[in-house]
């Protein structure tokens, strides 16, 4: 059995379904892996720990990877966990904001992730609103409360599979403007990253294969897999997680080892244009297993 340490992006939640299910069903065992899953409180830490060699694998966000690589962190993407954006610009469904244009002069709350200004600039452009026309407030720990209590008109950084459900549970209907529908190139929200120098490609390979079986099981047995997931820990069993499970299910990457290089290329270009990075790097700097100059490779993880 090879030992392996995986750091999640945050505490265990339905986004991590495939890993938990693979663990519970013994898929890792069968792949000869003894996987230690660590749940941090701060999503900024896992990539650093992976880069520092403290973990074999970390879960991060694709937009973050671009920034981190630009800042020189020895990290590359090695797989995909959730293959669509989850982030969205959330407003109250019954509120005054019917279209992006209505945000002119409004307040938008965000919880710092680094790229929200870029996302907002692109999205607001579609409503002919400039970033200077809105007031940005870092609301850190209270994304949906600040929206529901009317302190801000919209929040960016909300996850469509959570905050929407959460508002529904609180009895306030929410509405998402999806970045990928409003001028932002589509991207993979949750990805696996590792330090390309120190990583053990074989272990990672086996890990991704096992999680692929996990995804398979989830897709085939949505109800059983939910019960399996919720059974791992008492605090996971609640209405919100149940709803989130359903909403996350179709978004899991069915082929975790596959990485869409085009998405990385496009997002790198997007960030360059937004001024968040100074030079566009080739995808070979972002994705493991891609030779420099072979940006047309479709699948890196074979």
């Amino acid at each position: 059995q090879d030992r392996m340490t995986v750091i999640l992006d945050w505490f265990v939640n339905p986004d991590h379904g495939p890993i938990i299910v693979a663990q519970e069903l013994g898929y890792f065992d069968e792949a000869g892996l003894e996987v230690e899953v660590i749940a941090p409180a701060d999503p900024a830490d896992p990539p650093k720990m992976a880069a520092a060699g403290r973990a074999d694998l970390a879960i991060s966000y694709q937009p973050q990877l671009h920034l981190q690589v630009a800042e020189g962190l020895p990290l590359k993407a090695v797989g995909t966990l959730v293959a669509t954006p989850l982030n969205c610009l959330l407003v109250e469904a019954d509120g005054p904001i019917k279209s992006l244009a209505d945000l002119k002069g409004g307040k938008i709350g965000f919880s710092i992730a680094g790229v929200e200004e870029a996302l907002l600039t692109a999205m607001l452009q579609q409503g002919d609103v400039a970033l200077d026309d809105v007031e940005l407030v870092n609301v850190n720990w209270s994304l949906s409360p600040s929206l529901m209590s009317g302190q801000v008109d919209a929040v960016i950084g909300a996850f469509r599979n959570f905050e929407l459900n959460q508002m529904e549970i609180e009895g306030v209907a929410g509405k998402c403007f999806y970045p990928e529908e409003h001028g932002v190139p589509s991207y993979d929200e949750l990805i696996y990253v590792a330090n390309p120098e120190t990583m053990d490609a074989d272990k990672i390979d086996r890990f991704l294969t096992a999680t692929a079986r996990g995804v398979q099981y989830i897709v085939n047995h949505p109800q059983e897999s939910w019960e399996l997931f919720a059974g791992t820990s008492a605090e996971l069993k609640d209405e919100l997680n149940a709803k989130a499970w359903e909403d996350t299910l179709p978004r899991f990457a069915l082929r975790p080892a596959a990485i869409d290089t085009a998405r990385y290329e496009a997002f790198e270009a997007f960030l360059l244009e937004a001024g968040l990075i100074e030079t566009a790097r080739p995808v070979s700097d972002l994705i493991a297993g891609i030779e420099a100059g072979t940006s047309d490779a479709a699948d890196a993880g074979q």
Partner: protein, 245 residues
């Protein structure tokens, strides 16, 4: 300490809380009503108790280590003005570092286990003890120092027999602060990366908008803090009452 001294402030707190909810029309996703939190506390009692136990262990460990280390440091610093000038700014520095900058460093050193959590709690508890005790150690009445000097006291014995006992009230002031900071210290330690403990539960509940659960955990933490404080206060009052009588 009569039981009414425990109940009266609790009732006052409940009244204030209920008033905040009703009068200020607080939405339940920001501040749930006491009744809702009580219900959640009852429903999730097993869950909360399990996590509270973890935190309590961290609190006690952090407190013992923090107070012990604070005591030792204050005494060491009291010996030498040079050390004080050199080290005190660094202690101050340590208090200015926010968790999120420290967390990666701590976990890199100590890993994700109990150690990094206790290190974090310690960092929070340590400072007030050291600071208040050192302050008191540097204020020994000069007449006593003179008398001890004439008696040929060695530096260490002077410290042990005169300066430390004379500074006891200062140490206890620091300890009282530490007792109050210990639980929040442990909770912050849990943010360094934990999957157990009240801090974890609160952060999880908050992130997933289970505000009633968060407040139930928070209430548990607050009660833990207040009980610790009441206990410490009682013990300290006993010690001081016996001291010169």
């Amino acid at each position: 300490m009569k039981i009414v001294h425990l109940i009266a402030p609790a009732l006052l707190a409940l009244a204030l809380w209920q008033a905040a909810v009703v009068v200020l029309d607080m939405p339940s996703f920001i501040l749930p009503a006491p009744a809702a939190v009580a219900a959640r506390l009852w429903l999730s009692r097993a869950l909360i108790a399990e996590h509270a136990w973890v935190t309590l262990v961290e609190v006690l460990a952090g407190l013992a280590l923090g107070a012990g280390l604070g005591w030792v440091s204050a005494v060491a610093l009291a010996f030498s003005a040079g050390a004080r000038r050199l080290v005190q700014p660094l202690l101050v520095f340590s208090q200015a570092v926010p968790v999120f900058a420290l967390a990666p460093i701590l976990t890199l050193w100590f890993g994700y286990g109990l150690l990094s959590k206790i290190a974090m709690a310690l960092l929070i508890i340590y400072f007030p003890v050291t600071s208040a005790f050192l302050d008191a150690l540097l204020r020994t009445p000069p007449d006593w120092l003179a008398q001890a000097r004439v008696m040929g006291a060695t530096r260490w014995r002077l410290m042990w027999r005169v300066r430390i006992p004379a500074a006891l009230p200062g140490f206890l002031t620091g300890l009282k602060l530490a007792v109050v900071y210990a639980p929040i210290g442990a909770v912050i330690g849990e943010w360094v990366g934990a999957s157990r403990g009240l801090g974890y539960l609160m952060l999880l509940a908050n992130g997933r908008a289970r505000i009633d659960l968060m407040f139930a955990a928070l209430l548990t933490l607050a009660v833990m803090t207040m009980l610790l404080h009441a206990l410490a206060n009682l013990a300290i009052a006993r010690i001081l009452a016996r001291r010169e009588a």
